[in-house]
């Protein structure tokens, strides 16, 4: 089966795995994990510069040949998220932004009204807005309606590794919007990524699941394979679930060995 790649806002990526750069033990491991993941689009955050540590994160990502997807992590209001996106555009010369507007410190769940407000404003300013959203199909549709060229619903809270807690909602989101659906947050291991793709997601974003694994580079390879496997299985069409067995070997031609 030919995979025509993931297309968002007119840009096509060969990989359907987006990688978060947070949590890696070192830039060396990050670089190796990027290579193992095959990812072409990776997130970065914007923070105060530390004059002591002149980070080479930008250089590492440039060497890896990946596209940057700046995020607005840590923003709690539409105003802060919009300003952060504007600063990211200045810093990285990209209109792309992974829009996060957090409404609760413990769960890091999105603040829906602020998220929608920020998305609308950033789309108006010409940004390519990829919103981190709840698994609510109605909110996903509203975000697509205001011009987001993809939506990024959570499977479960960021960094929780709880997988996809409501697969039915993810499947409903796939039906509710025309734009690509990128499962974001909650992935714990490879089977979660495969499930996301089997549910019809167009891509998966993973950060902690890879960066905080005991062997991040090996997990990056596992996620890559899982996304491909899930995509293939979705296209292949799974069998329906049944309560009782259905013999896979026909009874016809069964020999009669007589009474025992």
């Amino acid at each position: 089966m030919m995979d025509d790649g993931l297309t968002i806002a007119g840009r096509t990526f060969g990989s359907r795995l987006l990688l978060g750069t947070g949590g890696f033990p070192s830039l060396t491991v990050l670089a190796e994990a990027i290579a193992a993941s095959g990812s072409e689009l990776v997130t970065v955050a914007l923070r105060r510069i530390d004059p002591q540590s002149r980070g080479s994160l930008i250089d590492v990502l440039a060497d890896a040949g990946v596209e940057l997807l700046p995020n607005t992590a840590g923003c709690h209001t539409a105003r802060d998220a919009v300003l952060t996106a504007q600063l990211a555009r200045e810093a990285f010369q990209t209109d792309w932004v992974k829009l996060e507007v957090i409404g609760d410190e413990d769960t890091l769940l999105p603040d829906a009204p602020e998220l929608l407000r920020a998305a609308e404003q950033l789309v108006d300013e010409g940004f390519v807005v990829l919103p981190y959203t709840t698994d609510d199909p109605v909110l996903a549709r509203r975000l697509a309606d205001v011009g987001c060229p993809a939506v990024m619903p959570l499977g479960s809270p960021i960094g929780s590794g709880m997988g996809i807690r409501n697969p039915y909602n993810i499947a409903l989101i796939r039906e509710a919007v025309e734009v690509p659906v990128v499962l974001d947050a909650g992935i714990g291991t490879a089977s979660d990524a495969a499930l996301a793709m089997e549910l019809g997601c167009d891509a998966v974003m993973a950060a902690s699941a890879i960066s905080r694994a005991q062997d991040p580079v090996r997990m990056a390879g596992a996620m890559r394979a899982a996304v491909q496997a899930g995509r293939l299985a979705r296209g292949a069409g799974r069998i329906p679930r049944r309560l009782y067995a259905t013999a896979s070997t026909p009874d016809a031609g069964l020999p009669d060995f007589g009474a025992a």
Partner: protein, 67 residues
């Protein structure tokens, strides 16, 4: 006196954003750097001309691992 990345900094009113960046060893073509003053983006093209007011709140930001 201004507030640079949350800390008071002995920069006189009238100094430019570029002058503040120079204190941080940042050149005008520094990659992956953005500046906000009092909650507004200062585009790179204005770094040399943008004069800071007394008590200006300056944020100098760059890429960090995240997301």
């Amino acid at each position: 006196m201004i507030v640079l990345n949350g800390e008071h900094c002995d920069v006189r009113a009238g100094e430019t954003v570029a002058a503040v960046l120079a204190r941080l060893d940042l050149a005008l073509d520094a990659r992956g750097v953005a500046v906000a003053v009092d909650g507004e983006v200062v585009p790179r093209a204005q770094w040399q001309s943008f004069a800071l007011a007394e008590h200006a709140r300056v944020e100098v930001l760059t890429a960090m691992q995240g997301g």
